[in-house]
């Protein structure tokens, strides 16, 4: 298994990362998942979801989770 990571919109372009797979032993929280995909500081307006639910960066992640990072949304 693994933690599946998705990155969207301007953040995807800025990081140059679209999708990634992370070894769960290297990340207990969403913040640690972030640190596995980039050396940058998380931007102040960063949004994060685990398994399609909004969470904050200190939320726990588990093996098999889908973790997503994205900028503020603006549909409609």
């Amino acid at each position: 298994m693994a933690i599946s990571v998705k990155v969207f919109a301007s953040l995807r372009e800025d990081l140059g990362v679209d999708r990634a797979r992370i070894n769960p032993s290297k990340a207990d929280t969403a913040r640690q998942v972030w640190q596995q995909i980039t050396s940058r500081e998380p931007p102040g307006n960063l949004l994060c979801a685990v398994n399609h639910q909004y969470v904050n960066l200190d939320s726990r992640v588990r093996d098999g989770d889908e973790v997503a990072f994205f900028p503020p949304v603006n549909g409609g």
Binding site: K6, N45, A49, F70, P71, P72, V73, N74, G75, G76
Partner: protein
Amino acid sequence: MLIEIRPEPFDPWAEVSIHPERCGVEAGSFGACSVFVGSMRDFNLGDTVHCMELEHYEGMTEKLLADHAGAVIDRYGLTELLILHRVGMIYPGDPIVLVAAWSAHRAEAFDGCRDMMEHLKSRATFWKKESLEDTAEQRWVDNR
């Protein structure tokens, strides 16, 4: 309740027109319908916009909208709720979003439609990237 993310253009008024019958809701069973349609403008922040690409987070978008739609139907006692949202390449004048709420009385229809739209704007996982006229510039919209 119908929620769809559409990669192709749609006609919002034709969709609203057929929706009650499509859902088996009789015309005499509701007294009010409130509709909002958001469409693409040909200008933004002082610039002429040529087209726009609308990206979304497949899976999360549908879940967010369905969860909140269910809550809105319960909260306002709606008879029926329809939500359509475009993704992909969009041109000025194209409809982007349709929210339509049917109920017995007008306050519930108005409030339910607006509640759904405000949630969609603030929470649903869509992002817009504009292509400006006369330049090769592309820019992400409103990423505060």
